[in-house]
């Protein structure tokens, strides 16, 4: 694993001394917890291998964890890190280095596509195995055993907090990467005929993309001397009032340059939500689909499309 992404993950989680102390305060970790954990240190270290097996055996039986359990390479890494984790949990040193180890494990889970719920379940199964052993050792003084186990569990929850943060941060990063990809999908402006452009819009329209789209369209109107632009929004899944406003502005700007815009491909859902939002779209000329829009545009430009002789008997030549 490269250090690059790991470092940025740490920065994003802001693992400074203050934050680490706050995280400990969140789980009510106190100095006396250290001695209680020390009392079960040898037990956990001695059985760490078995706890690890419990954890991964549980995951092996869960279909949603297949991304981890069926990837030999990731699984080996995870087992090694999990073992380190179990040993580190009882060492009494929960500083930055400890946190970094947890983040590393979290990044690994994230790469394996391990779901938060699945991870939480497996971690609980592991803690249960530890708890059973602890209670066995403290059979004579169960109250002490319970306290020791709870102290260990505080560290467990500290770890869960970190790993869940990593999983969420990684998911957000994935979403951002995908959004960038969508944004970078170019919005081509195509010349269909003399004076007629089509502008198919696919994906998500946000302020930035709307600006790119408007600039691209206006530039093409000037360069290609277009009179009509057919803007097809079939591929736009959702249109809220903000997006609608972007479209209205693009249409108004085109009109100032002397070009008419016909908007096509407004789906039933989009139409209903626009009306429900009360967006005033009277300034926009719409046609139901791209074909209708093109035919209307051709009519406005004075084109007449006819079939070549006898090419289409279905078209009913009179």
């Amino acid at each position: 694993m490269s250090n690059g992404p790991l470092l940025s993950d740490l920065e994003r989680l802001q693992l400074n001394t203050h934050d680490i102390e706050r995280r400990k305060a969140f789980v009510d970790f106190r100095p006396d917890d250290l001695s209680r954990i020390a009392a079960i240190k040898d037990l956990v270290v001695h059985n760490a291998d078995r706890y690890g097996v419990t954890f991964f055996d549980h995951l092996a039986g869960i279909e949603e964890a297949a991304g981890l359990t069926r990837n030999r390479n990731l699984l080996e890494q995870a087992k090694r890190l999990k073992h380190e984790h179990l040993i580190a949990m009882v060492q009494g040193d929960y500083g930055r280095e400890y946190m970094e180890q947890r983040v590393r494990l979290g990044v690994l889970y994230s790469r394996a596509g391990l779901d938060v719920r699945v991870f939480l379940g497996a971690f609980h199964v592991l803690m249960r195995a530890v708890g059973v052993d602890v209670m066995k050792r403290f059979a004579a003084t169960p109250a002490d055993g319970f306290e020791s186990f709870i102290s260990l569990k505080k560290i467990g929850f500290l770890d869960i907090g970190l790993i869940v943060d990593v999983l969420i941060a990684e998911r957000e990063r994935t979403i951002n990467v995908q959004q960038d990809a969508i944004r970078e999908l170019s919005t081509p402006v195509l010349q269909l005929r003399e004076r007629l452009l089509i502008l198919p819009i696919i994906g998500v329209i946000d302020s930035m993309r709307a600006k790119q789209l408007t600039d691209g369209m206006l530039g093409s109107i000037r360069d290609k001397r277009a009179r009509i632009v057919v803007m097809d929004i079939t591929g736009v899944a959702a249109v809220d009032s903000k997006v609608a406003n972007h479209l209205i502005q693009a249409v108004a700007a085109a009109r100032l340059m002397g070009a008419n815009v016909i908007v096509t491909g407004v789906s039933a859902d989009v139409a209903q939500s626009l009306v429900a939002l009360g967006v005033d779209l009277r300034s926009i000329r719409t046609m139901n689909d791209l074909q209708g829009g093109l035919e209307e545009a051709e009519r406005m430009l004075g084109y007449k499309v006819v079939y070549a002789d006898g090419a289409s008997p279905a078209f009913g030549r009179a």
Binding site: I221, R222, R225, R227, A253, L256, M257, G258, S283
Partner: protein, 124 residues
């Protein structure tokens, strides 16, 4: 500097200059209103392709010119609004509704002819 107004047949043509101030605009408005009547013009073309900004006063004045000219019997086409200018205007809410616009002078002339002819047939 005042804007020169050219007479071409039954049309008036004014090319707005880049160093246009509010006084020049007001003068242009008065002159066009007067010349449309004097020359019995049927159309006016206002070329703004040199301008890299059209503020709210200029936009309102252009609209006023178009509406005044219409009352005096001439259609007005504003031509040559540049992409950047168009975007800025829209963001300021200046959309020139009800005023004819065209890409450039040539397109504007064609639109003007079509409009005048259309209204003539409509009226006849």
């Amino acid at each position: 500097m005042p804007v020169p107004i050219l007479k071409q047949g039954d049309k008036l043509i004014a090319s707005l200059q880049s160093d246009l101030d509010d006084k020049d605009l007001m003068q242009l408005k008065d002159e066009i209103a007067e010349k449309v009547g004097r020359f019995k013009s049927r159309g006016v073309i206002l070329d703004v392709s040199i301008l890299d900004v059209l503020d709210s006063f200029a936009t309102r004045t252009l609209r006023t010119i178009a509406e005044t000219a219409r009352l005096r019997g001439a259609e007005t086409v504003i031509v040559g609004i540049q992409p950047d200018v168009a975007v800025a205007m829209v963001q300021l809410g200046l959309t020139l509704d009800g005023v004819l616009t065209a890409l450039d002078f040539e397109e504007g002339m064609e639109l003007l002819l079509a409009t005048i002819e259309g209204s003539h047939h409509g009226g006849g």
